[in-house]
Amino acid sequence: MSDDHGHHPRPLSDVERRARALEELLTEKGVVSREFIDRVVEAYAEDVGPMNGAKVVARAWVDPAYKERLLADGSAAIAEVGFGGPEGGHIVAVENTPDVHNVVVCTLCSCYPWPVLGLPPTWYKSPPYRSRMVREPRALLAEMGCDVPEGAEIRVWDSSAEARYLVLPERPAGTDGASEEELAALVSRDAMIGVARP
C-alpha cells in the first residue's frame, strides 16, 4: 500500500474505500504491483500534455511545410516533434479558418488525443458536453465563451473510432514577430479542443 493512504485526516468516502479495496486485493493477489501503480501515478502527476500540443500548433504556425505534413498525417508530424504513445496512433489535425470552426467531442465515452493534450478535463467527459455538442454546437460554444461568427461553418468531430482529433486554431492577429516559443505560450488546451480561440 502506498503512503497516500496514510494521509487522510477524514474518514474515507465510499468511492475511496472501494478504490482502496480493489488496489489492496490486486496487489495482494499479485495481479498488479505497488511499484507499477506508484510509477504510473508519478508519471502522470505532472501532466504536460497540452504543452505538447501547443508546441505542435506553434510549429505549424511558423512552418508552412510542417503544417502541410500535420494536416496530411497528424501522428507522423507530431512524432517529428517528439510526441506519441497511447491514444496517439491516429491523430487527425483539423484546421480552423475564418470560415470553418472545428470542435471535438466523444459522445460514447471520452476519447481524446493524450500525447498532445494529456488526460481530458472533467467537463469534456461530462454528460452535458457529450450530449449537447453534437446537437447544438453553436449555442453550447457561445455558452462556453466561444462565439463562432454566424457565417462560419461549425464542424463537430465525434471521435467514435480510432482517430483522435487536434484542432489547429487560427494564428492570432498581431503575432507576426513572435518566436515559436512565444506562440506556443498563447495556445490553450481549450483552443485545441475547439471550445476557445487562442
Binding site: 461530462s126 454528460p127 452535458p128 446537437r135 454546437p137 464542424r155
Partner: protein, 206 residues
C-alpha cells in the same frame, strides 16, 4: 446510458479552470490500477468500454469518470474469477458492479477481415438502422441517417467482435459527415455539421 449524443436535459457544462489532472489521489491510483489490471487480465479496450457501458444508468450518471473505471475493472475481474464480490464487499462495505452483459460470444457472428474500402470520399451513405444490445461504436443519433464520406481511414477492428469474441477482425473505416438538419430536423442549428467515425459494416450505400 453512455450513448449520450443528442440527449436532452443535462443542463449547463460546468468548467473548473483550476482543475488538476487528478482531483483526488484515489483517481490517480485507480487510473494506474486499471491500466495494470486490464493488461494483466488481457482485457481489451472494447471489453473495458463495455464494462463501463453496463453500469446501472443511475450509477453511471451520478458517478465520476474514474468511478466508471473502478467499477468496470472490478466487474471484469469478478467476471473472470480473479476476485470475488464478497472480497470487495468485505473490504469496501459494498461495491456496486456493472450489470451482466446482454450478449455473449455466440451472439456475434464470426466474420472475415476486410481491408479494401467499398466507399470513397464524397460517396453518399446511410447508417444502417440496427440496434445491437451489446457493445457497439455506432452512436444512436446517426442510425438511419444519411451522410457523406469525408475521409477513408485505415481498417480498424470491429468493436462488436473485439468486445464479445475477443478477436481483432479488421473492417474499413470512415469519417462520415452529417448535416445537422439531417440529424435533428427542425431543432437543428444552421451551418453545422457533425463528423462521425464509423466502420464499414455500419454503412450502406444510398
Amino acid at each position: 446510458m453512455h450513448d449520450l449524443g443528442g440527449m436532452e436535459g443535462f443542463g449547463a457544462v460546468e468548467v473548473d479552470p483550476e482543475e488538476p489532472t487528478f482531483r483526488e489521489p484515489w483517481e490517480a491510483r485507480t487510473f494506474a490500477v486499471a491500466g495494470g489490471a486490464l493488461a494483466a487480465g488481457g482485457f481489451n479496450t472494447p471489453m473495458f468500454r463495455h464494462a463501463i457501458e453496463r453500469m446501472d444508468p443511475g450509477h453511471y450518471l451520478t458517478s465520476s469518470y474514474y468511478e466508471h473505471w473502478l467499477t468496470a475493472v472490478a466487474t471484469l475481474l469478478v467476471e473472470a474469477g480473479t476476485i470475488a464480490p464478497t472480497e470487495l464487499d468485505a473490504r469496501a462495505g459494498g461495491f456496486p458492479l456493472s450489470h451482466p452483459a446482454a450478449v455473449g460470444a455466440g451472439d456475434v457472428d464470426a466474420v472475415a477481415p476486410r481491408e479494401t474500402p467499398r466507399f470513397a470520399v464524397r460517396d453518399d451513405v446511410r447508417v444502417r438502422d440496427v440496434q445491437f444490445p451489446g457493445h457497439t461504436r455506432c452512436p444512436r443519433y446517426v442510425r438511419g441517417r444519411r451522410g457523406v464520406v469525408v475521409r477513408v481511414d485505415p481498417a480498424a477492428p470491429i468493436p462488436e467482435v473485439e468486445a464479445h469474441r475477443r478477436e481483432r477482425v479488421l473492417d474499413p473505416s470512415y469519417s462520415v459527415r452529417f448535416d445537422a438538419a439531417e440529424l435533428w430536423s427542425e431543432a437543428s442549428e444552421p451551418n453545422a455539421f457533425v463528423h462521425v467515425d464509423l466502420t464499414e459494416r455500419y454503412l450502406e450505400p444510398v
